[in-house]
């Protein structure tokens, strides 16, 4: 059994959390916040990579509830991390899609690859991640 990872908070610039990560079993859950664009892309990428390097993650869940804006640079970071897992039958879950986020997820085709859930808890249940994030 994997221990539940203590919350990792990654700060974007001065004091604003841009992502909070939690590992539950084989699922990495990332709650995104604010504007996900070029400004935070490098930090977000390396934060996610570090988590994937250090934990035996199979599936990814992104919670966009706190996201006010995301562009193709931000989506590239997400899809890039998912590609690491896709070959090993990894699944990609998304939740918390506001109007503008849904629009770009649709345009990018991510909504055809990802499974949408009503909450992080539902995603975790579907992906077998136990009760974390509930």
């Amino acid at each position: 059994m994997m221990p539940k990872l203590p919350l990792i908070i990654c700060l974007a610039g001065r004091g604003m959390a841009m992502v909070e990560l939690e590992v539950a079993g084989e699922v990495l859950v990332a709650r995104l916040f604010g504007e996900i664009d070029l400004k935070v892309a490098d930090d977000l990428r390396s934060t996610l990579e570090r988590a994937l390097d250090n934990f035996p993650v199979r599936h990814l869940v992104f919670d966009f509830e706190g996201v006010s804006f995301i562009d193709s640079t931000g989506l590239g970071v997400i899809l890039g991390r998912y590609k690491r897992l896709a070959d090993a039958d990894g699944r990609l879950g998304v939740t918390g899609l506001g109007l503008s986020v849904r629009r770009v997820l649709e345009l990018s085709g991510i909504l055809r690859v990802a499974e949408e859930f009503g909450s992080r808890a539902e995603a975790l249940e579907a992906f077998g991640g136990g009760d974390a994030g509930a």
Binding site: D37, L38, D42, F69, D71, S72, G76, G80
Partner: protein, 140 residues
């Protein structure tokens, strides 16, 4: 005289948001819907990120110029860099074409989805200018 603005800033990642907000504040004079404003911000974000990432290869000391012009209920936005430019604009604009494996190659597709018209002028070593236009639904 039509209302317009010109904004210049160095090619730093944090200025993508500056460009978005300025264009949105300018467009607010046309009282657009939330969706129209989101589309506009999305298009600006793509074009400015491209100027920084591709035009200047991520170097923070290039100059990016964003201009806006209001024509009646329409807005024209121009995003310009003096960076490395492109050999083949048509190719670059194809969906999922990217010279950077970390990127999706969807920037131009997004601009085209968000705006009514997107024109790109570019020449190698001289730079790139993206001219976009969007007609807002009349609000009178």
């Amino acid at each position: 005289m039509l209302n317009r603005f010109r904004l210049e800033f160095p090619s730093r990642p944090e200025n993508v948001a500056l460009a978005r907000v300025t264009v949105a504040a300018f467009a607010a004079q046309l009282d657009p819907t939330v969706e129209e404003l989101n589309d506009l911000k999305g298009a600006v974000s793509e074009a400015v990120a491209n100027a920084i990432v591709h035009g200047y290869d991520g170097a923070p000391d290039g100059i990016v110029i964003v201009e806006g012009i209001l024509y009646g209920d329409a807005i024209e936005v121009r995003v310009e860099d003096s960076g490395k430019g492109m050999e083949d604009v048509a190719r670059a604009m194809e969906p999922e074409f990217s010279t950077d494996p970390e990127r999706l190659g969807l920037g131009f597709s997004f601009m085209q989805s968000f705006m009514d018209r997107v024109e790109v002028e570019s020449s190698p070593d001289r730079g790139t200018r993206v001219v976009m236009r969007k007609q807002f639904a009349p609000r009178h």
